[in-house]
């Protein structure tokens, strides 16, 4: 009854190449999207931390809206709605990157906000006493501490978001999931294909975790020394 034939997919060099390319695209878009999202999240969390009039409530609404709607709806809006409304057309991967960055930013912003809230007010007061302007106090004193405290949460959130990026294949980005769907439509070996894909996703998630662990040790040496 079971008819497992993994070798059919593994022996075809075209399929292997496609899986490799797809994995690279997935990893690349996730990392760049995560980095852009982190930069945006930094600004969002700063706006919310300093309670900037008008902008802070907007940031809060944005974060809550993104966090409470599915990525796939956001992505379809970014990929098909906005271009139609505003009259531009980017390549698929650029739409996907924009959608991923926006999505990542809201989750990161929420974590960073919690991190900033956890830092004692004495730190801001010390920064002010040193005569540092607000932005320097934030970037040199508050923010590094918030990131250091929240690194494990940011890390696991990043891994979690990586595992949701497969939906970008739905707008035609040739990522890992797209490669799987393509191979499935050619070989009709659905179980083998998606099992292979799952294993690749899990291995990639573990690699990201290990790399972020190394980055943590390098970035926050000062924390251990203190």
């Amino acid at each position: 009854m079971f008819d497992l034939r993994f070798f059919e997919i593994y022996r075809n060099p075209e399929y292997l190449l496609l899986l490799g390319e797809g994995a690279a695209v997935s990893a690349f878009l996730t990392v760049i999207g995560g980095a852009l999202g982190f930069v945006l999240a930094t600004n969002l969390s700063a706006l919310r931390h300093y309670k900037v009039p008008i902008l802070a409530p907007i940031a809060t609404i944005y974060v809550e809206f993104i966090r409470n709607t599915p990525l796939i709806v956001q992505m379809f809006f970014v990929a098909f709605g906005l271009p139609l409304l505003l009259g531009y057309q980017w390549p698929f991967w650029a739409h996907a990157l924009l959608a991923l960055s926006l999505n990542f930013s809201a989750y990161f912003a929420e974590i960073l906000r919690a991190g900033l809230a956890g830092i004692g007010t004495g730190q801001s007061e010390a920064a002010a006493a040193l005569g540092l302007p607000t932005w320097l106090g934030f970037s040199k004193i508050l923010f590094p501490q918030a990131v250091a405290a929240m690194f494990p949460s940011l890390n696991s959130q990043f891994i979690f978001l990586f595992l949701t990026t497969g939906v970008i294949s739905e707008i035609g980005v040739t990522d890992l999931t797209w490669a799987g769907l393509y191979i499935d439509s050619r070989s009709f070996r659905s179980f083998e294909v998606f099992f292979t894909l799952t294993v690749i996703y899990v291995l990639m998630a573990l690699s990201f975790k290990a790399l972020l662990g190394l980055a943590h040790d390098q970035l926050f040496k000062w924390k251990a020394v203190r």
């Binding site: 966090r67 409470n68 709607t69 796939i72 929420e110 949701t164």
Partner: protein
């Protein structure tokens, strides 16, 4: 109901709104299946993972790790496309989507609940034993009431995650809000352009999810949570 929408908003658009709201009920049903099924399996997994049976604990730790690490999309593909091929059977989208979301939910909820139970200090166990209570009595009378208090907020928060997760089920042929909305977005009917329909769908998802998020936050403030990290991950 249908006539009201049609007369209120003009023919094509009224039907779109009605169909979206009609499809929303399937999103809700699927979420409830996942939550109740996942909760049921989750309780069993949690019970085993805090029990004294060490090899079974390891097996179910692997179960939790597995279904937490596997992307939900891949679970849907494996159960909705892979399983029918492997066994040469027909699989109903309700069954495949329900099972995928149930397994996914059970892993997350059991992890949250195990975290809540293990975060009750060990002294509470010792206190129970000093009073001469059996293991089951210690659990039911002392540990679980305290763990419940810590677990309730992340559990509610995770429901948001499930509702958002159901949006992927259309990929294996499930007719929920996402499927109907996507079909309209691809139609030439005026008023269903992607920049209208996707924000409308987002608003429907938001109106389902946001009250739960607020409730979870309220509970977290009142009762505390397993950890700030657990809360954040559960509400993700």
């Amino acid at each position: 109901m249908k006539d009201l929408f049609v007369s209120l908003l003009g023919k094509p658009f009224g039907i779109v709104v009605f169909q979206l709201l009609e499809a929303t009920q399937f999103t809700i049903y699927l979420s409830l299946i996942a939550f109740l099924g996942g909760g049921l399996i989750g309780v069993c997994v949690t019970a085993i993972r805090v029990s004294p049976m060490s090899w079974l604990r390891t097996v179910f730790a692997a179960y939790t790790w597995l279904f937490q690490s596997v992307p939900l999309l891949m679970l849907l593909f494996l159960l909705g496309l892979g399983m029918p091929r492997l066994f040469a059977i027909q699989v109903d989208p309700w069954f495949a989507a329900g099972l995928a979301l149930t397994l996914y939910t059970s892993a997350y909820l059991s992890e949250v609940w195990r975290g809540a139970i293990t975060s009750v200090p060990l002294g509470q166990h010792e206190g129970g034993r000093a009073l001469g209570l059996a293991f089951a009595q210690i659990m039911i009378l002392i540990i679980l009431p305290q763990a419940f208090r810590l677990a309730i907020a992340p559990t509610v928060g995770f429901m948001v995650q499930i509702i958002k997760g159901t949006s992927l089920a259309y990929i294996i042929g499930f007719h929920d809000l996402m499927a109907i909305g996507k079909r309209w977005a691809n139609s030439p009917v005026p008023g269903t352009q992607p920049f209208v329909i996707y924000p409308m769908m987002a608003m429907i998802y938001f109106s389902l999810c946001y009250p739960l998020s607020l409730w979870a936050r309220h509970l977290e403030k009142r009762l505390g949570s397993t950890s700030s990290k657990g809360g954040a991950a559960a509400a993700a």
